[in-house]
Amino acid sequence: MAPGPLPGGVRVTAPILTQTPLGRRHVMRRRIAAAVAEALLRMAAMVGIAALVLLLTVVTRDGFHRLSWDFITSFPSRFPEQAGIRAALLGSIWVMALTTVIAVPLGIGAAIYLEEFAPRNWLTRIIETNINNLAGVPSIVYGLLGLALFVRAMELGRSILAGALTLALVVLPIIIVSGREGLRTVPPSIREAAMALGATRWQTVRHQVLPAALAPMMTGIILALSRAIGETAPLITIGALLFVPFDPRGPLDSFTVLPIQIFNWVSRPQPAFHEAAAAGIIVLLTVLLSMNAIAIAIRYWSERRRQW
């Protein structure tokens, strides 16, 4: 149909775009802007990596030469050259072991309840909202709770046990979330199959769901615990010491942990102490890295084995 007046006087015009010339300069400008923008964005993404590299370089440069077997086996001292992380390392091991024993069963139990048993009612929703909110509470506030409850009210004093209980509360929300995510990786058809055979809910969970969910749960839990190793504020608040020249012998002993030892050394003016702090950081990061590697290895291995 030829362009021109249609019956009734309606004019047909040519489409708008072909009337505007797209000059080459206009296109070029758009392309340059796009390229610049992409470069900026890529840089933003790299800032993180750059910062990480910078951080690790600074720490290694400052502290690597201080690392030695003596460093690991000596107690802290007034003299920075002789200071070591022995008490702190032992304290960290004690605290982490107790924290794990307290928090993991509690967290997995809560995760199982919420994921497999809890009815969809208001109480369940309160519990779930509550857990989400707890994850956002600053860890020092947990320290205040620990101080008033475990140290004072339960009279545990400034002990490893009080520290472990406090730290357990800090990591509990994360463990619960990891536990639930692990349970969710098990397809519902497995639960159905078990129940159709006359298994009760608990039998289904205990014999079929939990074994299948174990590996993914472990990954999340190990990552949660690796955060706990670096926690400083709540333990300072409940009274962990800055200067501990002895091996802790029992859960009721006073103690210090590696990040607190680092904090102590950083807070001193002498640069030699800063170097000790850097060396302590290297040890801390190495432990962390190993735990992360284990968690990732478990995740990788379990995903390869999984047949569904």
Binding site: R120, A194, A196, G198, A199
Partner: protein, 283 residues
Amino acid sequence: MVSQDTPRPSNPIQVPVHHITTGPQQPSAEEPIVEVEGLNAWYGHFHTLKDINLRIPRRRITAIIGPSGCGKSTFIRCLNRMHELVPGARVEGKVLFEGQDIYDPQVDPVEVRTRIGMVFQKPNPFPKSVFENVAFGLRIHGYRGNLREAVERSLKAAALWDEVKDKLHQNALRLSGGQQQRLCIARTIAIEPEVILMDEPCSALDPIATLKIEDLMRELTQRYTIVIVTHNMQQAARVSDYTAVMMMDEDRGGRIVEFGPTREVFTNPKDPRTEAYITGRIG
């Protein structure tokens, strides 16, 4: 070997000659094993099953057919109290198993499921060994006899023993689809239920696996009652002794519109909707 007459367009499917029901023309004169009376079911506010009445004859294969979405799966899940596991699901009415209402508040649903077992549409073996799959039901019910023998018996009864006897400790998920489904049947019969419910057990399988399972079903009726939901009419015609036809009404709720010996339902349907469905005009 199953042979079938080619269905002629305007006539209902002919029942293959070799599979002639030897029983009387009506449902068996002996007591039915499951009687459904006035069963209604809901998902939340959606009334999905309406006033179902049915008598399932003992040690026979009863097929439930009907267009998709009419509630066949929901129905059989009401027979072993699996429907109520869905949040918001509700059931009213009676399901009498050996004369006792399984929905009686005194009755433990877990107990019901040991007497009325289920095989699902998609085979769902546990991610464990073949042996552990069959042994699971025995273990949780505290079986005191020789576990190995019981597992072997079940696998033989499921026509799977020869194929897995050297692989008992291999992961069940490495079996083929048809083998997995027979494994699911084996673990169900290991606890010796009286009724086996099958929810489209062959729809995820290839034709050869399907035929093996159909043969297995016929053997199983020596000891078990089977209720099978299927959307495959030829399968229902091949395999079942009795057929119930379910249809959706205007509000998408399901009702049973016809029930009788398979041959009759397919050759002489009483309800016009049955005929329409069978000849392919609807569904």
